[in-house]
């Protein structure tokens, strides 16, 4: 590894991150602007700049904590960190990579159960109809989280205002969309 810290690609997860996203974790110099601007940092276990530092250490223990963190799931990909990073580090892209890996390795933080359930239910809905079917999404989400009574008041109000489709919008080429899911997600049960 080069002795110049600005150009060294760290071993471990950092090098994997670089290979998949071109994000160089070694470029972070810990100014903290990402954590200061992040609207969710106060709800995170490690704010974005700390995630960056943990990856820089290439310590297997800290990398494990990153993959098991709640931070990567509560991140909304609002892109504020990337906008303000003086080194133009694409943290949102890094977060997408970490989420995908965390899920593949079954390391998703238990506190993120609802967030993951929502994403999965959302994708299930598209897989079968091609477009989002909001009632199907809610049903899938409730079945996964057992949060049966959440938002019960919302549906009738939405129906009254014509904001909720009772019948799903079905596209014609549903098999085409289903095949996209099969070819991209492959065997990972994402």
């Amino acid at each position: 590894m080069s002795s110049d810290p600005h150009y060294s690609i760290p071993a471990g997860l950092g090098s994997e991150v670089f290979a998949h996203t071109e994000v160089k974790v070694s470029h972070c110099y810990q100014c903290g602007k990402c954590s200061a601007g992040c609207p969710l940092s106060e709800e995170m276990d490690y704010p974005p700049s700390v995630i960056m530092r943990m990856l820089q250490t290439a310590s297997p223990e800290l990398e494990e904590r990153v993959l098991r963190s709640f931070s990567i799931w509560v991140c909304l990909t609002c892109e504020m960190c990337f906008a303000r990073c003086p080194m133009s580090i694409d943290i949102p892209k890094l977060m997408d990579f970490l989420r995908e890996k965390s899920l593949k390795e079954k390391k998703a933080n238990p506190k993120a159960k609802e967030i993951v359930a929502f994403h999965r239910s959302f994708l299930d809905s598209i897989r079968y109809t091609g477009r989002l079917y909001e009632i199907g999404l809610f049903a899938g989400y409730k079945a996964r989280t057992l949060k049966i009574f959440d938002d019960m008041d919302l549906a009738p109000k939405m129906i009254r205002r014509g904001k909720l489709n009772i019948i799903p919008e079905l596209i014609k080429d549903r098999s085409g969309v289903a095949s996209i899911f099969r070819k991209t997600i492959k065997k990972n049960k994402n």
Binding site: V74, E79, M80, H119, M158
Partner: protein, 280 residues
């Protein structure tokens, strides 16, 4: 002139009024809009959170369908869909290997030639120059123009307006007769995709946005994204409980304001569908 139209899922359901107002304004300015045949969901936050290839393949299918239909330019009113489509175009242009993989997954030809316009770009290209002469009922109110995240970020890819203090929606509202206020939360996040899975976070984030808009004297908030709208409007309960008071500022789509200014009917613009009554 004919313009391709990608409504996206929200505009067919929970944000039906956004679609209604886009269509009504286009009609008022003689723009023929043509929906992309058999379009699919762009995958939204869920896809890019869980699987990168899927998050590129779904928007690529939409762009392929537009090309097949001969639509060189498509308007994408939802800021989140606009972001996903534009990011996909960028990523596939940059990486030929990735593009091959995505094209193989979709089984559709893709050249990446269809131009993607967000709603502000569409209005500025086809409506703004004619707008002032058409205003019959100026929207004479103080407004807070709320751009949110995905209309302006990531700037390196979207290259639209200014990423921290954008101006284009403010300029447009000025032409519709409104007075935009100067405020601090133009591009802060509303909580977006956590609406269902973490409603309390949305209450906090959207609450801060609404608080600032009201404190600066705004009488209405103007948005260009269905997710921003549904959080600020439909989640007003969570917002009010975070703020500890009942705030009744209405949230309008940019196209609804333009529609009102040129004399279109309240119902044509779907204004009766909002949770927070529009009384301005």
């Amino acid at each position: 002139m004919t313009l391709g139209f990608y409504p996206g899922c929200s505009l067919k359901g929970s944000s039906r009024e956004y679609a209604e107002s886009v269509v009504a304004v286009a009609k008022a300015f003689d723009i023929e809009i043509k929906e992309i045949n058999d379009w699919n969901c762009c995958g939204a936050t869920a896809a890019h959170n869980l699987n990168r290839e899927l998050s590129l393949a779904l928007p690529a299918r939409i762009l392929s369908l537009a090309e097949k239909q001969g639509l060189n330019e498509i308007v994408v009113p939802c800021a989140a869909c606009y972001s996903r489509l534009t990011v996909t175009k960028f990523e596939l242009a940059k990486d030929p290997e990735l593009r091959k993989k995505i094209v193989a997954a979709n089984g559709l030809e893709y050249s990446g030639t269809a131009e993607v316009l967000n709603i502000i770009q569409m209005l500025n290209k086809y409506v703004t120059t004619k707008l002032e002469g058409r205003v019959v009922k100026p929207f004479d109110h103080k407004v807070a123009c709320y751009y949110g995240c995905l209309l302006v970020r990531p700037h390196a890819i979207l290259k639209f307006d200014r990423e921290e203090d954008p101006q284009l929606m403010d300029e447009l509202m000025l032409k519709a007769g409104a007075t935009p206020v100067d405020w601090a939360f133009k591009t802060e996040c509303c909580g977006a995709g956590l609406s269902v899975s973490r409603t309390s976070s949305v209450g906090r984030l959207s609450g801060k946005i609404i608080r600032d808009a009201v404190d600066r004297g705004a009488e209405a908030m103007i948005v260009a994204c269905p997710m921003c709208h549904s959080n600020l409007d439909m989640r007003r309960g969570a917002i009010n409980s975070f703020l500890g008071e009942k705030i009744s500022i209405p949230v309008l789509y940019v196209t609804q304001v333009i529609g009102l200014a040129v004399g279109l009917n309240f119902k044509t613009l779907g204004l009766q569908r909002h949770f927070v009554n529009v009384t301005v």
